[in-house]
């Protein structure tokens, strides 16, 4: 099939399926087929437009524009996530290079990795006595594992030829790490960072329901207002933001793809 036609067709199918979904949603809601007072798609789209047209108003902590809330969440994620990456990459390289580091740290990693980061929330509140720092701390804990594990795996499975070249030239450990190991494992690091970002974006919503402000708190607040259509607005915006973040890492991964 012609490529231009095929893209146009894919686009048309996507639009069509969206229209069908919107109409079906509206019909089901209007007829009360699911539950009574379930908001229809028209109402939801209406409030989406309302929220998006003035996203940054500020009428006190319980009445913030959705854009303001989104930025608050993004800021928490970016700070906690960046700190996690700064810790995870050096630690991962260390674990990948040294058997001693691997065997002394791996038990903790394996033990802590499966724990829901929300379990750390009370710990954070107790230690920091501050909901803002606690949110960042929870994101930090969330983001650290995938990047750490991927980095360590990348180092451990690095093509030995690169290391042999470096060794045969008499390169120091520092040169080998900076100029051979780090660039060689860039695809692994980015894959880890992508997963970390995805999980961080999942967790921030849940964490914020308990912390106040942010897009997660917005959902909790709208639940208290019993405004389901606003919750759907938040879901759409959270999904869209997560998609953009993920695409950004996808783009980076393509840039650092060395394979043939």
């Amino acid at each position: 099939m012609n490529k231009a036609i095929s893209t146009r067709l894919t686009f048309a199918v996507a639009i069509l399926s969206l229209l069908i979904f919107i109409i079906l949603w509206q019909v089901i809601a209007q007829q009360g087929l699911l539950v009574k007072n379930f908001p229809g798609s028209f109402k939801t789209i209406g409030s989406l437009i309302w929220w998006v047209s003035d996203p940054f108003f500020d009428n006190g902590p319980n009445d913030l524009g959705i854009g303001t809330n989104l930025l608050i969440s993004l800021r928490r994620v970016l700070i906690g996530y960046s700190l996690a990456v700064l810790v995870a990459i050096p630690l991962g390289v260390l674990m990948g290079m040294s058997k001693l580091a691997q065997s002394s740290l791996n038990p903790y990693v394996q033990l802590l990795k499966p724990v829901s980061p929300l379990a750390w929330l009370p710990v954070g509140l107790f230690v920091f006595r501050n909901s803002e720092i606690t949110g960042i701390f929870v994101i930090f804990i969330t983001s650290i594992w995938p990047t750490l594990i991927n980095t360590a795996f990348g180092v451990a499975s690095i093509n030995p030829d690169y290391l042999r070249v470096s060794k045969s030239l008499g390169a120091s450990k520092s040169i080998t790490i900076r100029r051979v190991i780090l660039p060689a494992i860039m695809p692994n690091i980015l894959a880890g960072m992508r997963i970390s970002m995805g999980t961080a974006w999942l967790v921030i919503v849940a964490a914020e329901m308990l912390l106040g402000t942010g897009i997660g708190y917005f959902i909790w607040n709208e639940w208290n207002n019993l405004s389901l259509e606003n919750i759907f607005v938040a879901i759409i915006i959270i999904g869209f933001t997560g998609f953009i973040l993920d695409q950004f890492f996808g783009f980076l991964q393509d840039k650092f793809d060395y394979s043939i």
Binding site: D161, S168, L169, A171, R179, Y258, I260
Partner: protein
Amino acid sequence: MNKKSSRTSTSNENYSHLELVNLGKIFFKEKKFIDFRSKGNRSGFEAIKDIDLKIEKNTFVSIIGPSGCGKSTLLNLIAGLQAPTSGKIIIDGQAIKGPGPDRGVIFQNYALMPWLTTIQNIEFALNTVFPAKTKADVKERARKYLRMVGLEKASNKFPKELSGGMKQRVAIARALSINPNMLLMDEPFGALDALTRSYLQDELLSIWRKNKVTVVLITHSIEEALLLSDKIVLMSSGPSAIISEEISVDLERPRDREKIEQDPTYLKIKMRLEKHLLRETRAVEEVT
């Protein structure tokens, strides 16, 4: 350069550049946690043993043997990438302690860094070996060696954009750029098709003539060894491989690929090598 031009006195011409004394390598199994309780009893795999070899300055020596005989292990030991279990490696009268820029190593899989362009791969070697050199100096020198292997135009290409033969030429340029006096090659043309292989063999010979380095080449191709070498070292089948024979190849240089095959000396050595390799390979195949 001075060192090399001082070679004019004929008495100095043939001193050994590389000497292997009673060299052996045993690979020990990694100790598992449970093994700590059972004392001693460190059984290992003996790859090579009792290797004695002298290689003269600026000669071309091939090491040939059945697959799995420890040829690559031997080369890794000379390169200093692994430490021998027993014996010594002496280069220019000094026992080596590890790798060094006096030896350029060329690997079968080219081992180019895929995130660097052709010229950056060479610059990496230069920057590592000569940290004091200026950026312009390094670039100039890298370009010179790319020109030498005829790849000046590909200097900004990435390895994945190059053919196998081109990649190996970059690897040769990289190995030579640090001005080693010994070139260690581990089946460098093994992964290439026949035509590219003969092209690169000719290239290597002309580079060797111009640069005057000692070459140690690991190969499993009898024809390649005969075409290129002054001396062929035959290894027995592993484990515990030894050197079973050293054969001088007294054929006129430059050697013509087609004419050489009619030469009675060539045919005689070839027969001998074939017989040896067949016998050793049979030993390998019938054990397993």
